[in-house]
Amino acid sequence: MPVHLLAAVLVLAATPIAISPAHAGIRDLAKSAKEKAAKATGQKSADHPCTGMDAQFSETTIELTGDVLDKLLASRKATQPMRDELAKLLARRVTIQREIEDLRGKHGDAIVENENRRAEFRSCMNSTLEGIKQRKVQTEMANTMANPRSAEKLLKLTAAFNDAQMKGDTAEVNRLQREMGSLFDATHADSLEAEKQCGRMPALHPATVKVDALNQELATIDEKIRDLEKQATKVQADKCKLTKGQIAMAWERITMYVGKSKNDAKPCGFSAAELSALSERKDALAAELEG
């Protein structure tokens, strides 16, 4: 390595740990030295060594020794029955999605038209029932005020409502609102009267019924898949005697290693022992990630 390149690398290695934020201008100096060095040698940034990127192990990030990797691989094998079941569910999932797409493709326009007609019906019913309710309110108010006892009851209810609002007692406000509103809620007779104007709710399009049923099945399958994966994770954790977090982080790092190796790039953030152990099991690990 040319001396000035070595010096530039030294600067780079020293800079991140050495400079305080207040001395950030030094970063530019280091960058400039690095750029000069790279330019002089025609080196591309992708070839940059993992200077200063030593593996950092913690409670979650454990060292991927040969023993750990073998345990991880073996524990994955132990989940094979679950994975077989998973494959069946995933295959059914794909079929359902295709069926839904087919139905939407064939009946898309009819489904939209049906949904629009149902929305029109709902809108008609809402406005008609609101009209009926308003008429009821006016009639009931007139009757109530004509009767001193019921007028007193209504005034008490109104006072209690105002009091609850002043106190910010949301639960009481909601309760009183329900009590007062219930006096004028739509009855079955009101609904029948509204239907005379609006007609009957159009039935769901048969394709919508099928799509809804398929979506329901899909949701059930997705839950089953999740449960199976949860079981598989537990089996792996028990078998490896590692925590779920450690296993997840180990596979994250393995994924990074395999990804980098595929691109012939130097994986950073691994110890020498890890690189050796990973290299020896590269194919098995890649197959496990693909499988």
Binding site: A7, C50, T61, G259
Partner: protein, 312 residues
């Protein structure tokens, strides 16, 4: 040759002097976070003086962000953070979205026929303004509650440090923290859960993030992705990228600890925030509709679910 050697000696000596003069972080030092603004760094958070509650945004952090408009209701900014080793330098990418002006949809994306997670930013729809991986996952399926287009697709998960986000068609965002499971039954169009919660109850940092031994590894450093909401109702998406070595190793999963990420969200003015899947899963794309220009931060692996933002 002599000239080269002298140059090398000079630079090497300079590096050594700088290391001594600047004072390298010592093993006993408590973690800190500093932010760069106009080539000046200011330390705005210290682990040993970490606030239990973020009552307001931290001006030293917000002033360092120069917001750029992406589309109506969407702005974004970047900043550089300095932290403790090995996360000496972290690039912060912050996206601010007005939920009344944009629409959020979830995409559940599994490969056909393997069923393995298939989503990457390359699969973001052409009309998307922002697309980012959402929630957490273990195998093929996202963890926890998932509601798509008003239909519950996956039932809620249970965990004291989980948070659920529920969005309705008007742009109202509701946060449901922990195990309360008082999930809104009606009016929810899009919802998902994630963990760990970073901020709740108007900016409070959960107890489990304030002291070790409460189920969260407080020292683990990773590339991070979080979602939050500020006091003006704007949704914040915040991603970190390792930025030491001049950005050569951006994809490396190194970054803030969980308490540090809670501080970042609090300093940005969030009152609620939760982590999304970080590390090698974290990925985000921004698309400016006016110019068609995109900004991409790819991840290392495919994920099952994404949060996609569209114009309303």
């Amino acid at each position: 040759m002599l000239g080269r050697r002298r140059f090398g000696q000079r630079v090497g000596l300079l590096a050594a002097c700088l290391a001594l003069a600047a004072g390298a972080p010592r093993g006993t030092a408590r973690p800190t976070l500093a932010i760069e603004r106009q080539d000046q760094w200011s330390t705005w958070w210290r682990a040993d003086h970490a606030p239990e509650r973020w009552a307001a945004a931290e001006p030293r952090v917000t002033r360092a962000l120069a917001w750029r408009r992406l589309a109506g209701g969407v702005e974004w900014a970047t900043a550089r953070l300095a932290g403790s080793a090995p996360a000496w330098r972290t690039r912060l990418i912050v996206v601010r979205l007005d939920p009344r002006r944009v629409r959020f949809e979830l995409a559940l994306d599994l490969a056909d026929p393997s069923g393995r997670p298939a989503w990457t930013i390359d699969r973001a729809p052409p009309g998307a303004l922002v697309a980012v991986n959402a929630g957490q996952f273990v195998g093929s399926m996202p963890w926890g509650w998932v509601v798509m287009e008003g239909t519950q697709r996956l039932r809620p998960g249970v965990g004291p440090l989980s948070s659920a986000l529920a969005l309705d068609t008007s742009g109202t965002v509701r946060w449901i923290a922990g195990d309360s499971l008082r999930l809104p039954a009606n009016g929810v169009r899009t919802a998902f859960q994630s963990y760990p919660t970073l901020l709740r109850d108007d900016g409070s940092v959960p107890n489990a993030l304030r002291a070790s031994g409460r189920g969260v590894d407080l020292g683990h450093r990773d590339g991070r992705l979080a979602i939050g909401q500020d006091r003006d109702g704007r949704v914040l998406l915040v991603m970190t990228r390792f930025a030491a070595l001049g950005g050569l190793a951006e994809g490396l999963p190194v970054g803030p600890t969980t308490p540090e990420m809670a501080a970042v969200m609090g300093a940005l003015g969030a009152r609620d925030a939760v982590m999304l899947d970080g590390g090698i899963s974290a990925q985000m794309v921004l698309r400016e509709p006016a110019s068609g220009r995109t900004w991409r931060w790819p991840g290392w692996r495919k994920v099952p679910m994404a949060l996609i933002t569209y114009p309303r």
